[in-house]
Symmetry: C2
Subunit: 341 residues, 2 copies
Amino acid sequence: MDIESLVRTYRQEVYKYIDEKLPKWHSHPDIQAFYEMLRDYPSRPSKGLRATLCILTCEAFGGERSLCLTTAAALEIFQSWVLIHDDIEDDSELRRGQLVLHRKYGVPMAINAGDALHVKMWEILLENRVRLGEGKTLRVLEEFCKMVNETTEGQHLELSWVDKKRWDLTAEDYFFMCGKKTSWYTTITPLRLGAIIADANNHRLERMIPLGYKLGLAFQIRDDVLNLTAEERYGKEFAGDIYESKRTLILIEALRRCSVEEREKAKKILDKPRSLKKAEEAEWILDLIKKTGSIEYANGVAEGLAEEAIKLFEEVFKDVKNTEVKAAIRSLIDLMVSRRW
Amino acid sequence: MDIESLVRTYRQEVYKYIDEKLPKWHSHPDIQAFYEMLRDYPSRPSKGLRATLCILTCEAFGGERSLCLTTAAALEIFQSWVLIHDDIEDDSELRRGQLVLHRKYGVPMAINAGDALHVKMWEILLENRVRLGEGKTLRVLEEFCKMVNETTEGQHLELSWVDKKRWDLTAEDYFFMCGKKTSWYTTITPLRLGAIIADANNHRLERMIPLGYKLGLAFQIRDDVLNLTAEERYGKEFAGDIYESKRTLILIEALRRCSVEEREKAKKILDKPRSLKKAEEAEWILDLIKKTGSIEYANGVAEGLAEEAIKLFEEVFKDVKNTEVKAAIRSLIDLMVSRRW
């Protein structure tokens, strides 16, 4: 089976489980409407990459796929609730091809729905008891705590840079933020959870961190590129990162490469709130990015990180005997860093 | 020891523990600033009623106070993160006598800080393993899941009524919303958790629900009254509920008692967003509430509920041998429903 079909198969299984676990019916019409809000993001088309990475890693280390289903589902639920809140925090417009939740229901109800979905993540994780036993259930919960801690710290960094109109940022700053904001929940934790469920040893778990760190960075940089280049097959609004003044590696590099005058003009535009940014201003920023070759630069950095990640992958997964599963993870890594779908 | 001193003692112990558990130092100044945001609400003066109710209930059923500390701390952390988000959702101004978090740091960073504090609640609850063992730790986590589920449903009801400009509400609607929004986290869950930690049987746990339900309603109604009458010794802005168009029992009753013309005028004022409500309009609503005797009505309802709650308390705590602790809970109930501090 090719990797894209495999991801689709795993995704379907995980989302079927999520559909069963999220509340569906309530006799009170307003609470019924609330349940529909909780199901909104999880029912939108997503790739299920994190769930698949978790399950495949578990299989690679000899764990049964079914042992991982609950945990993989919780990873996807995490993605949903955090995106509801992120979309408010970033004042986004579109998510997975549809209007963001707070533009459908207003900010107050969307914040609250995110919180309700957050608790569903923990609730689902308690189901692990049946298959994994009490000790491992608690171990998985610990891992989720670490993940949310890192993600919220990374998100804080990104938001505080926008808030403080900070532009004195380097590639190092970006990697530090992005490692926390993206790598921990996209790659490090899915890898570690798969390994934990399959009883991998601590040494192996430790080594998932640098692997997942680099893989997550490469993934995020490709995502940032996609935001500025892909007008189709992409669930967010085109060039939304410019409207949201996101401190991407691309933008940091463009501001480093351009002239002093261009930099001052760019900052003035980028420091405006979204509603005051004109289309031609966003266009000007995009041209600056293109003109300075910053997209090619970012692609180059992502490729370098991906190569390092693959090298680490080969080391960490060296003893894995199931060549089929190992090859599938290798393809999944390629898919994640190419973001070709 | 009188009950107010006792609550202060217990509160101090719980908040000392929280202070130890929340992250304090980080070498990165922006993350350090983030940790200070997380400590903001927990460091403001709060009453610690929920923590005290939980600990006293544990003691009443023969559990050691120290067994309850972690869980009581998590209850207080819950209160803090949920208030950060509530204050955004309600567009409040003051909390515990100071500016709400999102007016200090902006909405995006405040939402994210709420999420980060939310995960601290679960993280702290995992510490229960050391004293309570794995099984009971998971049982406590289940109870927290139920609590957050109920609270977010109640919050959704209240927010959706404001959003849909709903005024066709009865006292029954208010009780249904408020049971979920207030009782589950203020009284039902603290009572149940104390009992769970002390190994009380299921029958006893079941009976905590109607007791906590009524006690929580009485508490919330007194809180609503306080919002309109207490200008001092109160951490929120005076008559904030009117600015926030809260569907309190008081307001529902006032709209039922007033003339058709008054009702129409009141709805027009109340359906305006906070920023468009003039001080004299809020004053007019307050006069309408006073004129119709709705505060006295609400006080009467709260008294009735408190009496029923006390009757249930006497039944559920009948076998309790520790008369001192039992008397303390009885006093705590009085304190909660009188809200005299």
